[in-house]
């Protein structure tokens, strides 16, 4: 995915040193008239908590956040707390979200953009690990805002 984003001329990739930078960089880009999205892993979303609170939810930023759903599976027995915490975390922060687990779910991505624009709030798209690891996946497991 990273290479695909690097190769796409219509996208400028901003690699960040930590996920907490991604949301404020996106806020600055939006103020400057750009159309940012961020792409981070669930563990990174937890790291970015204060930025999510103050500079996404707090300012009413219409931002789609692609979140790598590390540890997610369909069996419900994941040993990875990064996965088990994700949806409760999003509910607790009152962040609406969509889960993408297969190609059939991809029509949820434009819905996320519509919801973010309509509500002026961040909206998450959680990309299931099993889907992200398939050949067809668009994935979302690297830090970065574009």
């Amino acid at each position: 995915m990273y290479q695909a984003l690097m190769d796409e001329p219509s996208i400028t990739l901003v690699p960040v040193a930590r996920e907490g930078e991604a949301i404020p960089v996106a806020a600055g880009l939006f103020v400057a008239g750009q159309n940012p999205v961020i792409s981070i892993q669930n563990a990174g979303l937890y790291e970015a908590g204060d930025a999510l609170r103050g500079l996404a939810l707090g300012i009413g930023l219409p931002l789609v956040m692609f979140i790598g759903y590390r540890g997610h599976n369909r069996k419900g027995d994941t040993p990875d707390s990064a996965a088990t915490i994700l949806e409760p975390f999003l509910h607790m922060w009152r962040v609406d979200y969509f889960v993408v687990e297969s190609d059939e779910d991809l029509d949820r991505v434009p819905l996320a953009f519509e919801l973010a624009a309509k509500t002026n709030q961040p909206v998450a798209v959680a990309i299931g690990t099993e889907y992200a690891k398939s050949d067809k996946a668009i994935g979302a497991e690297q830090g970065g805002a574009q």
Binding site: R18, E21, P24, G28, V31, A32, Q34, G54, P62, N120
Partner: protein
């Protein structure tokens, strides 16, 4: 040592039409001096992220200078942003770091390592140029040339610590100020009045 007021005054003198992103104690002094409040953003209610917001604005508007008035305590909390900024290398970003060695807004506790030299850290990360000033005359005479040179530039300013007895202003109105400023600045920079209300304060 340089006073906050003097530092803000000479920065304002050389500012031209730059966007200025401030945070914490710098915001308090900057607002008393700034002659372009329509181009100012005071990052409040979000810890340490002034440098990251400034980077986003600078990348999104490469034809407009962006000045960030950051500080040692805030930068220590977002130290990785030095590498992120150096990596993107925006030529229009001027990153000031007010170094007072303390956390002013929480009562004046010392930062973990008061001897950190932020200009050297930025140089090591790959900023285009770095400076460190501890007298206002040198800062004043150097700023026009610095702000005309290609960024990213880090300008470390040694200031006297001033613990704030009143702490951080956290009223509903103060928290609503930043979302309003950001909307006004987007309108100013893009001409589009298209960012409606959202979030807890608007």
């Amino acid at each position: 040592m340089i006073t906050y007021t003097d530092a803000c005054r000479v920065i304002n003198d050389s500012r031209d039409e730059a966007v200025v992103v401030t945070t914490m104690t710098q915001t308090k002094y900057w607002y008393q001096i700034s002659e372009h409040p329509d181009l100012d953003i005071g990052i409040a209610n979000a810890m340490s992220k002034a440098s990251s917001v400034a980077l986003g604005v600078a990348l999104g508007k490469p034809d407009r200078s962006v000045i960030c008035l950051d500080a040692d305590g805030s930068l220590l909390m977002n130290f990785g942003s030095l590498a992120t900024i150096a990596g993107m290398a925006p030529k229009n970003l001027y990153h000031f770091v007010f170094n007072n060695g303390i956390y002013s807004v929480t009562g004046g506790q010392p930062v973990p390592a008061p001897g950190v030299e932020y200009a050297k850290a930025a140089e090591a990360c790959g900023y285009a140029s770095v400076f460190r000033f501890d007298d206002v005359e040198s800062l004043d005479s150097s700023l026009p040339e610095i702000l005309a040179s290609p960024g990213p530039v880090l300008i470390e300013i040694m200031v006297k610590g001033e613990p704030q007895a009143e702490g951080v202003d956290q009223t509903w109105e103060s928290n609503a100020k930043m979302p309003l400023q950001l909307r006004a600045l987007r309108k100013r920079l893009t001409g589009a009045d298209d960012w409606g209300p959202g979030g807890p304060y608007l």
